[in-house]
Subunit: 146 residues, 4 copies
């Protein structure tokens, strides 16, 4: 069973949201577990796509309140670590897919690459050395599960 | 959905193991999620009891290898934090049950009490102020879910 | 250069405070660095004794504000980790001295013993297996530097 | 007393090294404390410049062995957190200066910006939104202390 991290901004528009939704859905279809930061934006779209396709997601939250998780997270882990929980999202993932994203996402991409993990990027905010770029949700999931 | 931490030594005899097994089983019967350190001994017995009763367990591992989890963990989270992951077991739990245990368990009990969480103890290694003591698995789970 | 952790309650009476003060002083006299949680109570007395004897202390704070450190800390490290910073106090210390203490201190003692570090205790709250007990500040520092 | 983080690659050439050296030196001249990851490359050059100008540096190490610090670190903190210690470098710094750098540095820059801290960059690997760019060590230290 693979654990696939999905990282992206805590707020996003409809187009990026739809992309994240389909990434979550595709992860469920392949029988992988979705790992994320458990909050809104891209994370919420991905968890929703995952849940609606029957998948399981783990949301690693920055705070101490379980109800800060978006409603589509299957299991919510409260850490109280703030943004430092980004590291745990990376540590708990075998490989990661980024969907757009800003500084928080960038920190996760950089750490994942530094720790030698595969990162497949949809609309990466910066062309980091070592990223695998994809243009559709299906392509991203195929490439991350290679 | 309640998240109940089960803490105890990474190695234990058959009697303590059986107690941990029944704690895990009882947690599953009540529909709670079992959170633990994911390794052997009491943790493994608890996860096994939980799994055999249809429950779900989250194993928060000290290392980076998913396969260091015991085979009864439902979802294994790799942290690379070593014993520091004990804190995450506490942070991710709404309340905890300790089954016997040594120094690692004691650190978890102390932090949980410090953070104001209910800790129900079966065979506590030391009579910490604030512990709720129980003598059977069923009593422990009843008291932890109060 | 040895790094000696001093752990104890965030609030204490005059007698325990005086003991912590002398532990800090003695650490300075031996040329060791004092590591602590940086806040009040026993930590503050120890840092004050240390500073007044010309020593250097590192205060590893739970929060994000440098000014939550007591005024006798030489260098204050802000972590934002809450009680989880207790682990860092242990990790940064070669060996530790506990002065009385409650649950937070106990968690540090237990983790230190679990990680194989020497812990010398003055008025330990519980008789943990593996503790080295001392009855004066000088004896504690002598035993911790062995 | 300001705490200035200096981040950069664990290996670097002579030109970047010289730049890091002068950043460390300038931090000492201004009476600030230098915070870094404590290892080689840019970190070592910065600590050396700092030490030779009479400054104090705190090296927050990834591992558990004090002697993995470069020889110019004043106080070495062992964490055992691996690359996760990058977060602590950011948390312990009031503001940061990056000198070139790769993925590890990038993760620190991104987290610092995400947490609202000023980051002054010398030869940034990517033009992150929010970075303040400088071209000399003196300019970087002046801008970081604003």
């Amino acid at each position: 069973m693979a654990y696939i991290g999905v990282i992206g901004s805590g707020s996003c528009g409809a187009e990026i949201g739809q992309l994240a939704y389909r990434v979550g859905e595709e992860i469920a279809r392949r029988g992988a577990v979705l790992v994320c930061g458990g909050k809104g934006g891209g994370m919420e779209y991905a968890c929703r796509g995952n849940a609606e396709a029957g998948g399981v997601s783990l949301g690693i939250l920055p705070g101490l309140a379980r109800n800060e998780a978006n409603p589509h997270v299957t299991y919510a882990l409260t850490t109280g670590l703030g943004e430092l929980r980004n590291f745990l999202v990376v540590r708990c993932s075998d490989a990661l897919i980024s969907v757009a994203g800003e500084h928080g996402t960038l920190s996760e991409m950089a750490i994942a690459l530094k720790e030698g993990k595969r990162v497949v990027a949809l609309h990466p905010p910066y062309p980091l050395a070592g990223l695998v770029v994809a243009s559709t949700a299906r392509e991203a999931v195929e490439k991350v599960l290679l």
